[in-house]
Symmetry: C2
Subunit: 378 residues, 2 copies
Amino acid sequence: MKQSNDHGSLEELRGQIDECDVQLAKLLARRQELVKKAAQAKALHKDAAYSKEREQYLMQSREQMAKAAGLPAGLMSDVIKRVLRESYRSGGTGSYPKLMQGDGKVVIIGGNGGMGKIFTRYFEASGYEVTGFGHRGWDKAQEYFENARIVIVTVPIDITIEIIKKTAPYLSKDTILCDLTSVKGPIVDAMLKYHQGPVLGLHPMFGPDIKNLVKQVVVTVSAREQEKSAFLVEQLKLWGAKTVECDAYDHDKAMSIIQALRHFTTYAYGTFMASMKADLKQLLELSSPIYRLELMMVGRLFAQDPRLYADIIMSSERNLKLLSDYVEHLKPELDTVMNKDAAEFERRFLEAREYFGPLSEQFLKESGSLLAKFQDQR
Amino acid sequence: MKQSNDHGSLEELRGQIDECDVQLAKLLARRQELVKKAAQAKALHKDAAYSKEREQYLMQSREQMAKAAGLPAGLMSDVIKRVLRESYRSGGTGSYPKLMQGDGKVVIIGGNGGMGKIFTRYFEASGYEVTGFGHRGWDKAQEYFENARIVIVTVPIDITIEIIKKTAPYLSKDTILCDLTSVKGPIVDAMLKYHQGPVLGLHPMFGPDIKNLVKQVVVTVSAREQEKSAFLVEQLKLWGAKTVECDAYDHDKAMSIIQALRHFTTYAYGTFMASMKADLKQLLELSSPIYRLELMMVGRLFAQDPRLYADIIMSSERNLKLLSDYVEHLKPELDTVMNKDAAEFERRFLEAREYFGPLSEQFLKESGSLLAKFQDQR
C-alpha cells in the first residue's frame, strides 16, 4: 500500500507545482505590463531603449532578493534577463524618439535588401520619412533624393563604389552619406572623394536574421564633419546598438580575422564534410551538447547567402594573404600530429594558451554557462 | 512640470516592478521546494532523474498557461527550463537508487582524474561502494580488487591497454570490465582479449568540466554478456545521461570527425592567431555576439589539458589520414578564393547546403535562439 500512497503524494505535489506556475505566468504578465508602461515613460524622455547601468542595477538587486528568498545563485538573474529580452524585443517594434533636428528624409539605396529592411523599420519607428529604392529606381532618382538628409548605400560590395559615384551628384553639402558595407577603407575613401559633405561609414556586425539591435555592434567611421552625423550615432545607440568608432583601415584589418578567416575556415570545414559524405544523422546522435554546438556553427553558414560570404571573404587582398598564410600554417601543425609529436603539440598549445591569457579560462566558463542554456533548450 | 511628473511616474513604475520581483523570487523558491519533494518521491520509485516525457508535458502545459495570461510565446517555457536546470543540478548532488542487485564494489583505476571523480561521485550518490586508485596503488591491488563487481579503467589513452592487461588477472568471471576512453575499437578488443567476463566499453562525450550528467551523451559498447552489464547502462540513464549503443569501430570512425577533426582545426586556428599576435582586445571590442561566440569556441580549448587533446587527435591512423585529407582539401578551396572565383565558391557552397539539407536551416534557427540567450547573459 505504501507505493500507491507515495504515487498519490507525487501527484499532489505536481498539482501544487501546476498552481505555482499559473501564478508565475500571471506575475510575469503583470511585470510585462509594468515594463511596457515604463518604456513609454522612458521614450517621452528620449532615454535609450537599453541602459547598461539600469540592467546592472537590476541584476544586483534581483540577486539580493533571490538570496533573501533562499534561491540558488544565478537563477533569479537568469529569469530576469530572459524577461528583459522580451521587453527589448517588443521595444524593437515600438516607437523611439527621433534625434534628428530639422527636416529632411532618409534615402536607403538597396532598401529592399535584408539590412536595408532592418534600418527602414527602425528609422520609421522613430518617425523618420524613409524612401528606399533598388537598381530599377534610378530613373526617378531626382525625385527620390529630394530633401535627403541621410543617404545610406547598402548594395552588393562589388558595385558599392560605382553606386556612391552615381549617388553623389544628387546630394547637397549637408547630406550625410553612409554605407553599410563590411569593408570600410576603400569605401569610405570613395565617399570622401565623390561627396563634399559629411561622411559616416557604418558596419553593422550582424546578419539580416537578427530580431532587434539590442547589444549588436555597429562600427562607425566618422570620416568627415563628425558633428553633423553625431545624432545618427546617438540614434543607433537609442535603438540599443553598441557603437564602436574605429579607423577605416584598422577596421578592415580586424575584419580579415573576425570575418574572412572565420568564414573561410567554417566554409571549408562544411565543404570537406560534404565531400566525405559524413553521416550527419549518426554524428548528431553521438554528439553531446558541445559537439552539437560545434556542428551547428558550421551548418548554419550554409542556410545563408553564398554571395554575401564570397563578398566578405574575397573583399580584399589582405584577406587573401591572410587565408593563404593560414593554409601555410596548417602544414607544420599537420606534421606535428602526423609525427605523433605530443611534446611539440603541447609546446604550441601552451604558446596559444599564453596568447589567450586569462581569456581562455573566461571563455571556458562563459561557454559552460552558455552550454547549460543550450541544454535547457533542447 | 510635465517632465517631473513623468519621472515620478517612471520611479513609481520601477517601485512596482521591484515589488513584482520580490514576489517572483518567493514564488520560485516555493516552486523549488515542491520540486525537491517531488524528486524525493520519485527516487523512492526508482524513476529517472530526467524524463523527456515529463519535460515535454511541462513545456506544453506551461505555454498554455502563459497564453492564457497573455504572455508572448516562448517566455514562460524558457523560464521553466531555467528553473528545471536547477532541479537537475541539485539532483546531481542528491541521491539515486542503486540498480545493481547483489553485492560487490566499484573499482575505478584512475579515480583521481577528472572523469574518475565524476563517476565516483555518481556511484557514491547511488549507494555503491567505490575504491579508486592510481599508478601508485598497484602494490595493494589484491586488496583493492577484492569483491570487485564493476572495474572502470580511466587512464591516459596510451597506457590504457597496458593497464587492462595488468588488471585482468585480478578479475573474476563475473566482473564487468569497462573503460572511459575516447577510442573504442582497439581498447574493447583488448578488454575482450585479456578478460573472460562481461565487457562494456564507455565513451562519455563530455569533458570533466560538466556540472551534471543530464542530457550528456555516453556511448556504450556492450561487447560481451550484455545482460550482465545492462543494469549499469540503466544506471547511467537514471543519472540523466543519454546512452547510445554503438559498434566499437563505427564509433571510432564517427569520433575522427566529431572530435579529432574539430579539435585539430580549432587548435590550429588558435595557434595561428597566436602566431599573428592578433589584438584580442580589439577583436572582442568589434565583435557582435555571434563573433564573440566563434572566438570563445576557439579560446576555451586552450584552458584545457593539452595532453588530452593530443591523445584524442593522435589516437588513430584514421584520424591522421582524415586530418591530412582535410589539409589537402583546403588547397582547391584556397585557390577558389585566391582566383576570386565567386561562381565556383557559390557552386561548392550550394553543394554543402544540399549535404546539410534541412539541418542548415534548423541550425540557423537554433543558433539564433541560442545567441539570444547568449545576449541575455552578457
